[in-house]
């Protein structure tokens, strides 16, 4: 029998609300023992299925790696359904099955001015990206969010060239944020744009990146059952009209590869 260590049962080390309002808003840092993963590429993800799921829910849940150290794997979880609700009620000592690191992560070009565009929980992979970037002076963040800023791991970006946050409280805020995205992307013609967040946000980023001919990658959050290429449930249409697998060929894609539309 070979050494098959990509899927492990590990202990929950902690489940902590993020900031003073984290518990009320359902924002948590879930920290598990490192299942034995080697260093991951920022933007890769893991599948997590706590023993508490039993047979319902059936699927594990995919999460971007927020932080991976030799001792621990940390995930940023926002409660949005029954699966994430169960995950955020776990206590230290509970067990979860974890497999990964999965998929393709973000490009890392240390000397190229790089801007991370994050929407909501899409901030998670950029924590790992910023932590591992050798030239933080070339790195900036633009973050759009709805919940209070303290509900997100925004402090992780204090050492960068810049980190801007925009809270959306109404339609005017959204329009202003999109205008700022356009200015930011247009100003990165010689740089690299990375984006993670809800689909409409990624569609906007892709449209603007094409408009200004900026090299850009987006990380998709498509629904997945297995995470390993077994179910073909998470596919996305590419520019050739074929379907590509988000779990193995993504979740990070160059925008010119995809025919990204609002439909999920």
């Amino acid at each position: 029998m070979g050494n098959y260590d990509a899927c492990r049962d590990v202990s929950i080390l902690s489940v902590e609300p993020v900031g003073p309002e984290g518990a009320a808003k359902g924002c948590y840092m879930l920290t598990l023992a490192n299942p034995g993963f080697s260093p991951a590429v920022a933007g890769q993800f893991v599948m997590v299925r706590p023993r508490a799921f039993q047979q319902n829910p059936v699927w594990p849940r995919p999460f971007s790696i927020c932080r991976l150290t030799a001792e621990a794997l940390t995930l940023f979880v926002q409660v949005c359904g029954r699966g994430t609700e169960i995950l955020c009620r776990l206590v230290p000592g509970d067990t979860a099955t974890v497999w990964g690191p999965l998929g393709q992560g973000f490009a890392l070009e240390p000397e190229v001015p790089t801007v991370m565009l994050a929407g909501g929980v899409g901030i998670a992979p950029f924590v790992e990206y910023a932590a591992g970037h050798p030239s933080p002076e070339h790195l900036s963040l633009v973050f759009g969010h709805r919940l209070p800023l303290s509900c997100y791991p925004f402090d992780a970006f204090s050492g960068l060239k810049s980190a801007e946050a925009f809270q959306e409280k109404g339609p005017d805020d959204l329009a202003a944020f999109i205008a700022h995205l356009e200015t930011t992307i247009a100003g990165h013609a010689d740089g690299l744009v990375l984006a993670c967040g809800p689909r409409p946000f990624l569609v906007t980023v892709a449209r603007l990146a094409r408009k200004y001919s900026v090299r850009a990658q987006v990380s998709l959050e498509n629904r997945m059952a297995c995470g390993v290429g077994g179910c073909l449930g998470c596919v996305e249409k590419n520019v050739l009209g074929s379907y590509v697998q988000t779990c193995t060929q993504g979740p990070v894609f160059w925008v010119e590869e995809l025919a990204l539309s609002e439909e999920s």
Binding site: M1, G2, Y4, A6, C7, R49, Q55, N56, P57, V58, W59, P60, T97, W99, N222, R223, A225, C226, G227, V228, G229, G230, C231, L232, G233, C234, V235, E236, K237, G241, S242, Y243, T248, E263, S264
Partner: protein
Amino acid sequence: MSVDASVRLPGMELKNPVMTASGTFGYGLEFARYGDLRSLGGIVAKGLSLKPRAGNPMPRIAETPCGMLNAIGLQNCGVEVFLRDKLPRLPYDETPIIANLYACDADEFAELAGVLSAAEGVAALEVNISCPNVKAGGIAFGQDPAMAGKLTEAVKKRAGDKPVWVKLSPNVTDIVAIARAAVLGGADALTCINTLTGMSVDIRTRKPRLANVIGGLSGPAIKPVALRCVWQVCRAVSAPVIAVGGISCAEDVLEFILVGAHAVQIGTANFMRPDMAFRIAERLPALMEELGIENLEEYRCSIQV
């Protein structure tokens, strides 16, 4: 006590009865990182068509209580790519690799059977006459006994010495009638069951959760239906039955063997954790020992009704 978990099926011997179900294990290679493919009783590859198929629009999957719906629509790389790029990398010399076939009509099914029967490394052909997610072919063949019989006959004629399994749908009034027709048509074994047709809707968006509107329900939720179908079919036909439907532990495997199945396939449980089939295969001998079962042939169909 030493136990024997091996199983004999027409034309092959399995080291254990735990196989993987088509459409839930990719082409096998996707799961090689999570366990030794050689430890499985068999691998049923993703359904193949003559030409590559793109499959259905998104969204294609939805979660349901104790189960899931899918409308993948048989996306696959086509038989040529499978034989050239996938099969040679599978341990077919130690673990039977079963090719699952899909086509739009009987002639195409027969042509596909001809191509696959000539391939070294394909141990058997599993004919999918029961996919609920495609318009042409698919379940239409599996709902009419006469059509199921004729189709089986057409495939069998082109299958050479490769055993032919026919995968049955539960979405029929009388599954036994279809099973009998398939066996009369020459089926060497029956795979029982494919997914149940189902639907899920979102009351907020007022949209169905699948682009295809309806899809195939699988997972632990369907196990009682699968068990009933396997029991009914095993009593009615002499051909071996390979059970599939909601199996997620070694105890489930024995339940199906108890009602008459020769072997099983693990489907949706492969999504619950990618090493699930390997774990079940590994656990089964210990469970047999706990229950005092020396071999599966002795235990098979020993249900006391």
